[in-house]
Amino acid sequence: MQTTVEEKETSMQTPAKTATRDIYLPSERKSVAGGGTPHVVAKDFSIFYGDFEAVKKVNADILSKYVTAIIGPSGCGKSTFLRAINRMNDLIPSCHTTGTLRFDGEDIYGKLTDEVLLRKKIGMVFQKPNPFPKSIFDNIAYGPRLHGMTDKKHLMEIVEKSLRKAALWDEVSDRLDKNALGLSGGQQQRLCVARTLAVEPEILLLDEPTSALDPKATAKIEDLIQELRGSYTIMIVTHNMQQASRVSDYTMFFYEGTLVEHATTPQLFTNPKDRMTEDYITGRFS
């Protein structure tokens, strides 16, 4: 992973070329056991802020246990779409939706949906690392405790397991009782991943998780995504196309609220069907 970082830093001149070079060929990517079934399904799904249609009639199947990247210029609705999946948009009073968005066949915006239980199944990591001002242990244990776990020993097991999964255990195992805000930015972000994993979600939503991090920390997060691939359905919003091509199996390209193209990553980056996608990935607009 170290090499890719260096490449990324030196290869900004010819985006198209770099893009092709960085792509994993299909043969390099192993298929995932038990994966590939539609996990989240959008049908004519639109999101409105008041009268403004931020996401327009999206139709898509997100496949389970694979990594799906969402790319597009800023303001294209990619984050809005991602946040709609675990209903974080509920926090915005003027926001409402039409069409259907299903998770495991059940309507996320259905009348009987309990958004609290939904968010337990669909975890989210945000742009800026946002650990609570508590100890590392308490940060990870926050979710399990919420859902009724009090046994100290069991909690410890979960904390260790989550931190190991997030590749953070070796760095923090000796200072679990220290304030999480004392960690570096990259560590904080991995802590946020670990915190999300501790509630045992099925889907991980990553909203530009590396935009606030330095290249080294970014590489670690990308490594982590590779490790988690196959265990969780992962959706990552990114404005960094190299990152999308490096980490994802499928890529969705949004433009002005519309889902322009949705294909396997190699296909989208080497052989885009839509003119707009090509213009975007070759850097003609951003």
């Binding site: 968010r119 946002n130 609570f132 999300t196």
Partner: protein
């Protein structure tokens, strides 16, 4: 206008601004300095043997054996003065009745002054009140009494266009040629030996009960009452205020009703404090009848209403300053809204909330007007915790007023008043200071 004049105007404008702030700082200094200086005088002073006697009699404090030695020592000098007095009274018996009556009239004030200085004259029945049973306990007061003994004050009314002026005449002059004459110079020279002043640190001023309506003793009943009232007010106002702030920041919709509630809040903040007192009397005591008459409970409830807007505002500000990302993170982990508020938002907002609370506590401790009709009595002993529901209590703020304006010996007990003011100001300013420190410390802890 030319540039020079414009620059002069600019400079004067700047100095006007700086001048105003300097004036405020000076005003603070001018108010605080005498209060601190004289207030400390309530604890640290030149205490006379009378002070030690009082402590021994009322509080059983001090070295009894040494005190007895001192009494004996000072007694020798006192006996001499009393002997002179007795001699003169004997002399009066054998005098021309008209002249004797004149002398007797002049002797009255002398005896009163001597009594005030040294305590009851042997052989004469002292009054029932404690104040008549002891001489001056403080040396600087004793010096005043000594002056009273030596000089008679008279007023000069001769010029009707000018305010009357006070002047002093030596009393000794009226007793020229009698056996009382040596008494004056004797007392003047030996006052120190009769009273044995020495430096005293009377910590009991803070923790003793008052003796004879604050002429002696300490101010513990007032301090305790102030704490009862302030803490009682907090018990009601703090939870209410924090919950209301949660509602305003996290739940309230942006509509007319909410803006009316906010308006009500600022209206309440602007109500004159005396009106709270009226309301407390009319509502808590006369209508709800939380107690038969004034009580700590009624006072605390009234104060609670008064500090509620401050607490709500402080808590609202604190909650609004919590980063939105904490909330998102918690909700993203599948936490309910209420749970997020309790486990994430409130802990992060705690420094601000507590700071607001502690400052309100200071405000409740310092207010007088709301408790005049609802909780405060001028003189009384400290009440037990069990009595807060039904009994009124003395409180610092009220008793400062009372001792300074309504006490029969107001100008004699300035040191007690200053001591009370210093105690109250210290409590309030210390609360404010601790709020600032607390905020700094918790903020540091939260930042890791």
């Amino acid at each position: 206008m030319n540039l020079g004049t414009r620059k002069v105007l600019d400079r004067s404008f700047t100095s006007l601004g700086i001048g105003s702030i300097v004036v405020m700082a000076l005003a603070l200094l001018v108010v605080i300095t005498p209060i601190v200086y004289n207030g400390l005088g309530a604890v640290f002073f030149q205490g006379t043997i009378e002070h030690r006697k009082l402590l021994q009699d009322e509080f059983h404090r001090g070295d009894k054996a040494q005190l007895e030695r001192e009494i004996e020592e000072s007694g020798r000098y006192r006996m001499e003065a009393y002997r002179m007095l007795g001699e003169f009274e004997a002399e009066l018996e054998g005098m021309d009745p008209v002249k004797a009556r004149q002398y007797r009239m002049q002797l009255g004030p002398v005896k009163t002054a001597l009594q005030g200085l040294l305590g009851p004259i042997p052989g004469e029945e002292p009054g029932i009140l404690t104040r008549f049973r002891y001489g001056q306990t403080r040396w600087e007061k004793a010096e005043e009494k000594l002056h009273e003994l030596l000089y008679e004050s008279k007023w000069d009314y001769s010029d009707p266009n000018v305010m009357a002026k006070e002047y002093f005449v030596r009393r000794a002059e009226s007793f020229e040629g009698t056996s009382l004459l040596p008494l004056f110079s004797y007392v003047e020279q030996n006052a120190e030996k009769m009273l044995l002043p020495r430096f005293t640190a009377y910590w009991g001023f803070l923790f003793d009960k008052s003796v004879d309506a604050h002429i002696f003793g300490g101010i513990w009943p007032e301090i305790q009452g102030t704490f009862f009232l302030a803490i009682g007010a907090m018990l009601f106002a703090f939870p209410l205020g924090v919950v209301a702030a949660i509602y305003f920041t996290e739940y309230a919709k942006d509509n007319l009703f909410t803006s009316m509630l906010r308006s009500a809040n600022s209206t309440l903040a602007g109500v004159p404090s005396i009106v709270f007192g009226l309301f407390g009397l009319a509502f808590f005591i006369n209508t709800l009848k939380v107690s038969e008459s004034k009580s700590v409970l009624a006072g605390a409830l009234t104060l609670a209403i008064m500090i509620l807007p401050t607490i709500i505002r402080a808590a609202e500000e604190a909650i609004l300053s919590v980063p939105k990302t904490y909330k998102e993170a918690s909700l993203g982990l599948g936490s309910t809204k209420w749970n997020t508020i309790v486990t994430v938002i409130l802990p992060a907002a705690l420094p601000g909330i507590i700071t607001g609370g502690v400052i309100s506590l200071g405000r409740a401790a310092g207010e007088t007007a709301p408790i005049i009709f609802t909780a405060a009595v001028s003189v009384g002993s400290a009440i037990g915790l069990a009595d807060v529901l039904s009994s009124p209590t003395p409180a610092l703020s009220w008793n400062i007023y009372n001792l300074a304006s309504e006490h029969e010996m107001a100008s004699e007990i300035r040191h007690v008043q200053y001591g009370m003011v210093l105690a109250l100001v210290s409590i309030v300013l210390l609360l404010n200071l601790s709020a600032v420190l607390l905020r700094a410390r918790i903020t540091k802890k939260l930042k890791g």
